[in-house]
Amino acid sequence: MLILKTLQWGEQHGYGISQAIRATSGEVLQVETGSLYPALHRLERQGWVTAEWKQSESNQRAKFYKITSLGKKQLASDYERWGKMVATIEGIMTAERGDA
């Protein structure tokens, strides 16, 4: 979900994605490369992102990932589910004991 969200801001390569997640989360979330690349390749296989080789800002050839419309839909539904889950957890966490 985070990867898809990052890609919503524009196409990006793997390194860029990991940097972006790290930066936007205020260095709280560090995406392990060991999960990032498998995840990217899985997303690609599921058709939620596409990839092509381009020159990066630093003139480095890199594989850029772009979110597809299918990916956007998935992101939306994932985000909705996430919201529901957060709300549910929040509800449980803040619930008062109902008995006397």
Binding site: H13, G14, Y15, G16, Q19, E32, T33, G34, Y37, P38, L40, H41, R42, R45, W53, S56, S58, Q60, R61, A62, K63
Partner: protein, 908 residues
Amino acid sequence: MSLFRFFRRKTELKEEIDSHLNMATADRVARGESPEAARRAAVREFGNVPLVADVTRERWGWLRLERLTQDVRFAVRQLRRTPAFTITVLVTLALGIGANAAIFTLVNSVLLKNLPVVDPKMLVHVGNDGHDCCVGTINPRDNGEYSNFPTETYKQLKKNVPEFEQLAAMQAGFTYRPVIARRDGAQTVARSVMGEFVSGNYFETFGLRPSVGRLLMDADDVSGAAPTAVISYEAWQHQFAGDASIVGSTFWINTKPVTVVGVAPRGFYGDRMTNTPPDFYMPIESMPELANVTYVHEPGTEWLYIIGRVKPGVSMGQLQEKVNAVLRQAFSTQDGFSTEDGKKQLQKVHATLTPGGAGIQTLQEDYGSHLHLLMWVSGLVLLIACANIANLLLVRGMGRRTEMSLRSALGAMRGRIVRQLLTESVLLAGMGGLLGLAVAYAGTRMLLVLAFPGDQSVPIHAAPSPEVIGFAFALSLVTGTLFGVAPAWISAQAKPAEALRTGARTTASGTSLLQRSLVVLQAALSLVLLVAAGLFSQSLNKLQNSDLKLDVRNRYIVHINPQAAGYVQTQLDALYRTMEDRFKALPGVVKVGISAYTPMEDNNWSNGMGIQGHPEVHGLASIVRASPEYFDSVGTKVVMGRGIDVHDTSTSPPVAVVNQTFVKHFFKGENPIGRRIGSPHAPGDFEVVGVVEDTTYTDVRWADHSMYFLPLMQRPPSDKSPIEQDMSLYAGAIVIETTRPMNDMEKLAQKTLADINPNLTVAKFQTFNEQIADRFTEERMTARLTMLFGALALLLATIGLYGVTAYSVEQRTPEIGIRMALGAERSGVVAMVMRSALIQTGLGLAIGVPVALLSVRYIKTLLYEITSADTQVMAGAILTLAAAACVAGIIPARRAASIDPAKALRAE
């Protein structure tokens, strides 16, 4: 995803990770780190590059294949690192699988192969015995079983059983009655070849098409039709170089003109597997003229095999009933079945319908039991081979326990390790299978030579068929997985920490129970095979050394066929004298005997006997018509009275010479000289003038063989039929005794006979020794092969025992070092190692001896005059095995004794 894309993506992934690292490094450099430090930090941050790549690739679903290639590559590397192990395993497998595939090729082509005809499954053989041969009289039989029929019976079956789409008949004993064939023309030579008389619908029944011209038709098979023949493809190619003008040309068959109308299809070798397939197929109705035989139309003489093609959907049970009913009807008019007793016997008359797709199974019946035995034997060898390989792999697996522990400590998955080991064994098995095929090919050739010596015309090919290749590979794969699982499983049980910690300090548990049981099993199995080999050799030895009461030194047997050469009975007396004179005139020739047939050949004529004055005595005796010098020429000794001499002519009083068994059986041992014998109806036809020793005829196993001998041209006075109908006057063989071995005897015989008459050809030429050796072909094959397999088994078992002992010595090196440091004698160490090797062998013997003793009963029928494993064979097998065990034990034992205690202990 294609493999190509897979590899492209693999490079792309590498590039992607590289670019990641490059960018990360660049960022760090931009922040002021040194390039080297930046790179190191980037890589550290990235983590385990290959692992990430692995996990990522796993998302593609291609990792299995990748792992497989890795495993295979690794396995090849591992196998190359230990060539001794690899070669031992491969040789073991190649021999084990090769031997099995070779035997299976032979079994497949002899026992399972169908005739090369259309839809062989629909063919039915009326009868079940390819040895119910060749020309005989329809008489009641105790079992009521018939496989050989008169022409008349065949015609009735054909007419009255419409369930047969086609019903064909064929001469049962054509191999015993070669024809003399010569192509019309000036430069042609007459040759004695095989010719088979068949019904007109013979080829149609098999659904065959001609190579050239046409095949026989019903119109050819009518009395009075111009004689026609179809030539076999083989003969057409080899004798006449595929000359198409042969169709329509005239051949002189048994001196009578016959038109060849066509060539049989390629690969068709007739209705049965034989080493002498027919060159010519001729219609039954032309036989009386061409072969000058009277029995073709005798309703009481059986001489035909019958094969039919049934219509689809016919119930075999009903068909069987119907065939039997027609047979009983046909037989009911025969003399033998018209008496009170005969009528009862008639109810038992039947012919068992058997699958006819493989044709008449004479050869199959001959070789079946031996081939099945060989299959068992080679199966045992394969079992030993597998045990051996399992053992070698176990030893190797154990040796690599530390390596495995290290690998699993480094994070290798247990499943992966097992898979790796399995890959290794399956790879080995696959390579072994390939080598096995090569061995199988060579082995089958060898088996064919052993099974059918001197015959290239057996329609069996050494090339393994697809079935055999499939069989070999299935076998090797099953073996591979089988012997791969155990070591893999054991290795996978290794607990890394424990294995790494304890290192190599083990004592007696150096070899597992499984390993030792395998060695015991091998020892037991090879003992059984050694005993079998011993028994078969002993049996062959007994057969070959049995006293046949004949003399083979410088004796040559020339088979002839004066009848086929056009001689009529009235010309025979003169012919025989001419042959005697001409052969006697050859330098070096001492004696010339002429007879109907000779000792130890595949031939026999039996008659029912009567003794004058003793109507209560009856029985069968074999008859041989012989010339005056015949007894001397084969080495039969006259023990009483006289032999046949030159004064016994067609006009002198009829006399007979009998053998000792005849005297025992028919005269109760009394002096027979002067008594009279004959057929049951005319017991006074011949006066007995002499007694000869029991020379062995036909088969060594034929004990108590009553025989009588008549002068060549003397007919029974009671027989009033014209001489022209007396087939028994035709001689079949000339026996020549020379002063020295003469290698050119065959040429001389051909020339001498051709000088008398160009149509008088040599039907078969052999030395007396060769003729006798031919009678032991199957026994020799079995003895040699069991010997071969026994040796193979022994070799494998020895390797197995050696492997286990050597391994245990290696494992126990530190222990032995300590023992020796504490003062153990070298001899004590040797004894210790030898003891364990010998205990395993001893256990193998303890199991093997009773098993071997039990197995003897299953092979008893294949043995000659041997009913149990005698002490000689048993002791021989045990000693051989014990000696092999000592060899296998002494090498590692000496190595153990040479361990330097200081070195062994320091090595830890």
